[in-house]
Amino acid sequence: MQSSAHTADGTANVPRLAAHFASLEVQNHAARLGMWLFLATEILLFAGLFVCYGCYRFLFPEAWAAGSRSLDLFWGTVNTIVLITSSLTAALAVHYAKEGKNKMVGVMFALTLVMAMGFLVIKYFEYHHKFEIGTLPGRYYFYEGMQLPGITLYFTVYFCSTALHALHVVIGMTVLAVAMVRAFTKKDFGPNNYTMVELGSMYWHLVDLVWIFLFPMLYLV
């Protein structure tokens, strides 16, 4: 095993223990709990949009059915598969970080970033198509193929939720890119030092989790 704790200077890749924590174990537990609290606030942020979706779907069911059928299900499904696979590589990065295989951590995060870029490119083409035909939020809507009460609200919810999700994709990519650079240059992730990889990967799984709910809500029902 390539554990770096057994290398020449023993403490090279052991994270600094802050004075107010009893042990590294307690410190890591606190970091993880803090991340879960942050993710809970993120869930509640998206929940506001889910509630908008639920209420307006309840009031305008025909508009919702027409709106979801106008989206491109094929590219929506491709994006779901891309994001689930990127979540797998992020989870594998944590796995390799625990084993101290820094090169594999970097490679896994690089793959995750490539898939994240792919997700954003597909999303760009979907947005572009909507700007062309005019299925836009509120009073900017000019598509004549669907004229139903509430149809503009569907696209308001669509653009707000997918844009907020895309912003989270970009933030997650930044976090993972920092961890990737560190895995390739400092090479100091190991069994005692993988909190950064673990928490970055948890953020990425949240991005995946939100999309798992957005995809059937917007494209299927």
Partner: protein, 152 residues
């Protein structure tokens, strides 16, 4: 003491550490569930389509949280934080829906299925929507005039 803790920590991590096969298995299950939700979604099941899609999404989300996010290996506090936030999301969704379903019909948005009022013309025509509901002077002749609200 610090050194002792670190070696103990490493032992513990290695004890919790398992093969990468589990992640690949979860990935496969997630892909299968994605295909299932797309196939059943395309059937447009009339009554329980939304329910089925949400159940599948919840199963997928639970798998991601438990195994990709390692919630299955964590102790109390982390689980409570996550569980409580889900409970509050459900509350926040159910209470407004109950309100819309039971309130006086005239108080619901016009044009919705729980209202008897005509939807307002919010200017979604092919010409006007392009300019945010405002009309350009040279295009007014293609688009019928929006009646004042009082003329209905």
């Amino acid at each position: 003491m610090a050194i002792a803790n670190e070696s103990h920590q490493e032992e513990k991590n290695m004890h919790e550490h398992h093969g990468a096969g589990r992640y690949w298995l979860i990935w496969g299950v997630l892909l299968v569930l994605t295909v299932v939700t797309v196939v059943t979604g395309r059937m447009h099941l009339p009554n329980f389509g939304l329910l089925l899609a949400l159940v599948i999404a919840t199963v997928k989300g639970t798998l991601v949280a438990l195994y990709f996010m390692h919630l299955s290996e964590h102790r109390g506090a982390n689980r409570i934080v996550f569980g409580v936030s889900i409970v509050f999301v459900v509350l926040m969704l159910v209470i407004p829906l109950a309100d819309f379903g039971t309130r006086f019909r005239g108080a619901n948005p016009p044009g919705s299925q729980y209202s008897d009022l005509q939807p307002p013309d919010i200017g979604t025509g092919a010409q006007r929507g392009r300019f945010g509901g405002g009309l350009r002077p040279n295009q007014t002749k293609d688009t019928p005039e929006t009646p004042e609200p009082g003329h209905h």
